[in-house]
Symmetry: C2
DNA sequence: GCATAGACGTTGAAACTTCAACTACATCTC
DNA sequence: GAGATGTAGTTGAAGTTTCAACGTCTATGC
């Protein structure tokens, strides 16, 4: 990638790329809006609740949330603070590491997740899954998996940095 | 979608969906960061410049920018203001409609776009296009196109609203 | 022609994210 | 076992996006 001539995209590739950008923007915006309107929850908050719900004791360390969401630590601090104020999450000291903080989903958080999940899943189906054949959808999944793997591998910064001075 | 039983995703679908979320997040974050580091330009600003560069007179009405980017009008106002302050864009009164404002790319904006485009295209290739076979990439493009069409059709709000009281 | 409604864009405040310190604790090294 | 370095999380300010209200102009209906 260091030649002086850039290898531009074909017009077909360009169309596909733009469809990706606009489609994924529209899709996440729509899912976010549906969740907000129905349950007052952003897509990001919803995803935090999902991760907590899948963890033992419905509890996760702050850093694990940050890593799995690809968010900076400080973003997670702020988001969890808001969710704590809303009563969806409680913070506790982590066992075994006195620096650590654990976020635990409250019953109220669980109840909200139970309500919100159908909204979200129906949205994902209606706006995405059902628009593709099974094979198409699987192809997309494989490709995006490769993208994620590639970027995690290529970009050491993603392991953790994001918030530390580079 | 109104039955009381939710039709959950299969675990394979769930994996594909999560790959999509994480992959697209990582991808846009990476492209954004590469552009910022190399040229001090965000991905959104870059895309505005691209759209201007493709328009007659390198000029576009504010509302056209907003619509094509799926951004709210006020977001475009703020972004264009920053880009104007940076000397990349100039605002002029629109002809024929005294309410209107046109954003015109300056020479400085053009020069920056010329510099930035290879960075962006190389990133898109390296992190996305080259990871897929042509057929795979085309499949993805077709799917995302369907998603965009569906959401634009289903959601009248996207035509314009976004900033107006709903 | 006047009133009402609609469209264009801006404004300022609130909400959210990023960025650069910073505190506290853990680990590593000698 | 003391100092250096690294990790966990927070903080507050700066930057960006959203939200609601507004001012201006255009189009519509009467």
């Amino acid at each position: 990638m260091s030649a002086s001539e850039t290898h531009w995209l074909s017009s077909e590739q360009q169309r596909a790329w733009r469809a990706f950008i606009i489609g994924s923007t529209l899709l996440t915006d729509t899912l976010d809006r549906e969740l907000r309107q129905a349950h007052g929850l952003s897509l990001g908050e919803y995803e935090i609740l999902v991760r907590l719900s899948e963890s033992p004791d419905r509890t996760l360390r702050m850093a694990q949330i940050a890593e799995s969401m690809q968010h900076s630590r400080s973003r997670v601090t702020h988001t969890v603070s808001r969710m704590e104020k809303a009563g969806l999450i409680a913070r506790c000291a982590a066992e075994g590491d006195r620096r650590g903080v654990e976020a635990r989903m409250t019953d109220k958080g669980w109840d909200l997740l139970v309500q919100a999940a159908p909204t979200h899943v129906n949205g994902v189906r209606e706006h995405f899954v059902d628009l593709a054949g099974d094979a198409e959808f699987a192809t997309m999944g494989k490709l995006m998996n490769a993208v994620a793997d590639h970027l995690l591998a290529v970009n050491p910064a993603f392991e953790d940095i994001r918030d530390t001075a580079e």
